[in-house]
């Protein structure tokens, strides 16, 4: 619905009155001139040829008509007025209310650039292409253009309205060195530029049932030349007729008669709008009559400019699957990747040419037809003096180029998460009708790389294509969901495993169990020796639970650290049982798992079903050193007039002992270096922390890990829970590793937190050792909790003063 509506007050009443007046006068005139007498004469003449009975009936009938003509005319008049009234109500109700159901439009996060920002030339190139910026070989002279020479970019961004206001177009030069922005200069004044925010890339829409999509434009934002061109081609006398144009109709009739077919239409823009908004497309006389009356009524009620604006937003201009492209605003974005006011003359001519037949002249599918039609439009413009001969030649020489299509709906898993978050605050009918603008947290580059990783790795994991996967990438510090995949075919819109597949998490639970232990530093540290010997726990049903290690071996006494690195099951189970399973559940809840759990021993080994999204939420708390931020997919929502509606602010809560988390994370770093995920250290250039997970019988392969700037959880398995041949490291971790090679820039670094200390520990005995001693590993402890007993070897640098400066 256009923001500005110019309704003529009382126009409806006065129009109805006027029509009534004219009709009443006509009725009176007829009754005065004795119209009732004439039919009786006619009856006598014709009655002679009929039988007596029929004569009598006819005589009675005509007599009735003659006697009641005034009544019949009155009824006819009333019927006509009722007809007009119905048409009038149809028009005014639609125009006074919501003309259109506007889908919500969903956007990715905006790219922000500043000196020091980690970004590769590959990523920047991707982002510019994603935003449909046009690469040019000269300095950009219009918005959304850029010139690249190696690692130097000169870019002119688009104006864009965000939650916090309008971001104006910036024209700047940017240099990238060592995958970081090294220089940023404002080309408008030659001064260093501190910060640039790009426009947010369009992801998709949430459509109403009829799937019409449109981007509303206001008439004042439509280029003047575009309006002139449109009226020239579609309705030259738009501003002088009253809804229907007899001259156009006559001209069209002559042309059609002489050519022997329907080659020209005589419909005005108003008639076209009426047909599109209220009537069917069938070619029937009744429809044409309705169209004519409704056009007259529409013009009677509403201002020409509103009608023109409505036409510009209503016109059908193509189809993408179920999505119907309506209005020049959306068509401009859809075909050329830029707003209407940024189109070149030839692009405008293509769109206007499409009015004649959106499918036939579709520039993406039929560029040659579109070119021919465009040239007709341009020539007409030149003939009427709207453009010069030179402009004509220049524009006719341009090729018909459209932006790549098919982006809409390509991130179905992420969009599900967006809908899930929005449904807490908005009814689904509002999402598909109120024209909301939703600004999400999606990072298109991370999403792109995640999809690439899934597509590249999955075929290598199994020969059949039934093996499935799901993955979630989030910002460890804010909980922003950066990317999501819910199927091995990332564009598949069906079951979203990232949100809805609840699978056993296996060893991913172990960090939770050990965190519960490390929160009690007087009882447990990384150096605590755990018992890895056979364990039997009677179950209520009479059978016995006897957990095994993956290698089917027992390792005797092992430190908690080694047990975590090698993902031994029995020590983890013993620790959980020693702490109390309720304690483990409490820790899991503190880490954000929301559902109640029944305490049973196998829970300590991950016999608990969770979705990748839920696992990501738990691990986010670990990656943020104990500070949980609820995962969010939406930052802000604007209404259709670009006014802020809702902002989803960053929340944080200290859920668990941060020092214990940092101690745990120090071991998770070593899992990725020397433990079950040691292949990561060989393949990643930066420090990460993580944990593999494998459920019983290899049914589920998991990996959850984080760098300083990204956390990802990946699951691989079969939907019917049949065994795979994959462990966490041979399955899910491969996808994770490939992803992090291209999206992680910041290493995960342990925070220099007070209240922690390091000590060299003998892995065999769990006692203090020294650097250089056999089996000595430097471990982190909550201050005061390091072992005091010394092993036989004290090493060469156990001096606390020297340790102070390590």
């Amino acid at each position: 619905m256009p923001a500005k509506k110019t309704t003529k007050k009382g126009a409806q009443k006065s129009a109805t009155k006027a029509v009534t007046k004219v009709a009443t006068k006509a009725a009176r005139k007829k009754s005065k001139t004795g119209a009732s007498k004439k039919p009786s004469t006619r009856q006598k003449k014709t009655g002679r040829k009929k039988t007596r009975n029929s004569k009598g009936r006819r005589g009675r009938g005509t007599g009735f008509i003659r006697r009641h003509l005034w009544l019949i005319l009155g009824i006819a008049l009333l019927a006509f007025l009722a007809y007009l009234f119905v048409l009038d109500r149809t028009i005014t109700q639609r125009f006074e209310g919501r003309i259109w159901q506007l889908p919500a439009h969903i956007y990715a996060r905006p790219l922000e650039l500043y000196r020091g920002k980690a970004i590769s030339t590959e990523q920047l190139g991707f982002e510019l292409e994603y935003l449909n910026y046009e690469a040019v070989d000269r300095l950009p002279d219009a918005q959304a253009r850029y010139m690249q020479a190696g690692n130097v970019f000169q870019i002119k961004t688009r104006d864009f309205v965000f939650w916090d206001g309008k971001e104006r177009s910036r024209f700047f030069r940017l240099e990238i060195e060592d995958d970081r922005v090294s220089r940023l200069v404002d080309l408008a004044n030659g001064q260093p530029l501190d910060l640039v925010r790009f426009d947010a890339g369009y992801l998709t829409g949430i459509f109403p049932a009829h799937s019409q999509d449109r981007v509303l434009v206001k008439l004042e934002d439509v280029p003047d030349i575009f309006i002139k061109m449109l009226l020239l081609i579609e309705d030259r006398r738009f501003f002088s007729h009253h809804g229907i144009d007899p001259r156009s109709i006559a001209r069209a009739m002559v042309v059609n008669l002489t050519s022997g077919g329907a080659v020209q239409g005589g419909s005005t823009l108003t008639q076209q709008l009426v047909k599109n908004l209220f009537l069917s497309q069938e070619k029937k006389l009744v429809r044409k009559i309705n169209e004519a009356f409704m056009s007259l009524l529409l013009e009677l009620h509403y201002d020409k400019r509103l009608i023109l604006e409505t036409y510009i937003n209503e016109i059908y201009l193509g189809q993408q699957g179920k999505r119907a492209i309506h209005g020049f605003g959306l068509a401009s974005e859809f075909y050329f990747g830029k707003p209407l006011n940024e189109l070149s003359l030839d692009q405008m001519a293509i769109l206007i040419g499409m009015v004649k037949g959106a499918s036939w002249y579709n520039p993406a599918r039929h560029p040659e037809r579109a070119r021919e039609r465009r040239d007709i439009v341009l020539k007409t413009m030149q003939q009427t003096g709207l453009i010069t001969e030179r402009q004509l030649q220049v524009n006719m020489a341009r090729p018909v180029l459209t932006v790549k299509q098919g982006r809409s709906g390509v991130y179905p898993a992420f969009i599900d998460a967006v809908k899930e978050q929005l449904q807490a605050d908005y009814r689904s009918e509002d999402l598909s009708a109120e024209g909301l603008r939703v600004f999400t947290t999606l990072d298109p580059f991370v999403q792109h790389k995640l999809e690439q990783s899934v597509k590249a790795v999955m075929p290598t994991l199994a020969k059949d294509n039934k093996l499935q996967t799901a993955a979630v990438v989030v910002s460890p510090t804010s909980g922003d969901v950066l990317a999501m995949v819910g199927d091995r075919q990332p564009s598949y819109k069906g079951f979203n495993r990232a949100l809805n597949a609840k699978r056993q998490i296996g060893s991913l639970i172990k960090p939770v169990v050990y965190l519960a232990a490390l929160e009690q530093p007087d009882r447990y540290t990384l150096a605590t020796l755990l018992d890895d010997s056979p364990l039997s726990i009677p179950r209520p049903g009479g059978d016995v639970w006897e957990p095994e290690n993956y290698d089917k071996q027992f390792h005797g006494k092992v430190t908690l650290y080694e047990s975590l690195l090698k993902s031994y099951n029995i020590p983890a189970a013993r620790t959980g049982l020693d702490l109390g399973i309720d304690r483990v559940i409490d820790t899991l809840h503190a880490l954000s798992y929301p559902y109640p759990l029944t305490p049973y021993p196998a829970l300590t080994l991950g016999a608990i079903d969770m979705s990748p999204m839920e696992v990501a939420s738990v691990y986010q708390t670990l990656a943020a050193n104990g500070f949980h931020s609820p995962l969010r997919s939406v930052h802000a929502v604007l209404d259709k007039n670009l006014k802020p509606l809702e902002r989803y602010s960053l929340d944080v809560e200290n859920r668990v002992n941060s020092r214990a988390v940092v101690v745990l994370n120090s071991a998770l770093i070593d899992v990725a270096r020397h433990g079950t995920a040691k292949r990561l250290a060989q393949n990643l250039p930066l420090q990460v922390a993580g944990k593999t997970g494998t459920s019983d019988d290899l049914k589920d392969s998991w990996f959850a890990g984080f760098s300083g700037d990204a956390l990802a959880v990946v699951w691989v398995g079969y939907d019917d829970s049949r065994p795979t041949t994959l462990t966490g490291s041979s399955g899910a971790m491969k996808i994770w590793q490939r992803l992090f090679r291209s999206v992680a820039y910041q290493p995960y670094a342990l925070p220099p937190m007070p209240g922690l200390e390091k000590a060299w520990i003998d892995m065999k005995t769990g006692k203090l050792s020294g650097q250089g001693c056999e089996n000595a590993v430097e471990l982190l402890f909550i201050e005061g909790s390091a072992p005091r007993q010394k092993s036989d070897c004290s090493g060469g640098s156990s001096n606390w003063f020297l340790n102070l400066f390590k």
């Binding site: 939650w163 510090t477 804010s478 200290n654 007070p754 400066f805």
Partner: protein
């Protein structure tokens, strides 16, 4: 098995002490946190910026946030600060400002959590820690949480004594 370079707690204490001494020499006597809050002057010394290659971008956003605070547009100011944190998630003064903003908008629980987050990153900034504890103490009064008040009060006194 080598770890990445990691400060021992003793070394950290030395750093904290050095930082505090240098802070005192530039600003004179450490300000009373209650006074800082009550004055309504939100540009606390403890929020002074650090040297960083991303500083220019952060500065722009902090200036924007300040401008919005002047206009009492606290939601917009919060939005600017969250953008700062997207650039530098470990920027403790921004978390601290969010705590102050939460106090201004009567969200004491949020103020406590933001201040705690700031403190978890402000190991070498006793003046910032003291300010954050002052925010927590104010929030505890709104929450009517005596234990939290006592904890905050104790931390403030310890930092002042230090």
């Amino acid at each position: 098995m080598p770890f990445l370079s990691f400060f021992s707690s003793r070394f950290l204490l030395l750093l904290v002490f050095a930082g505090f001494i240098s802070g005192c020499t530039t600003t004179g006597q450490a300000p009373q946190p209650d006074q800082l809050i009550d004055t309504g002057n939100y540009k606390f010394d403890a929020w002074r910026l650090e040297n960083d290659p991303q500083l220019e971008a952060i500065n722009v956003l902090l200036d924007d946030a300040d401008a919005q605070i002047e206009l009492q547009n606290y939601e917009l100011a919060t939005d600017k600060l969250e953008r700062v944190l997207r650039i530098r998630p470990d920027y403790a003064p921004a978390w601290s400002r969010l705590s102050w903003l939460a106090l201004q908008t009567d969200r004491p629980k949020r103020a406590v959590e933001m201040a705690r987050r700031s403190n978890s990153l402000a190991y070498t900034r006793p003046e910032l820690q003291m300010l954050n504890w002052a925010f927590i103490r104010s929030a505890s009064e709104l929450l009517q949480d005596q234990n939290l008040f006592d904890e905050a009060d104790m931390q403030i006194k310890a930092l002042q004594a230090f």
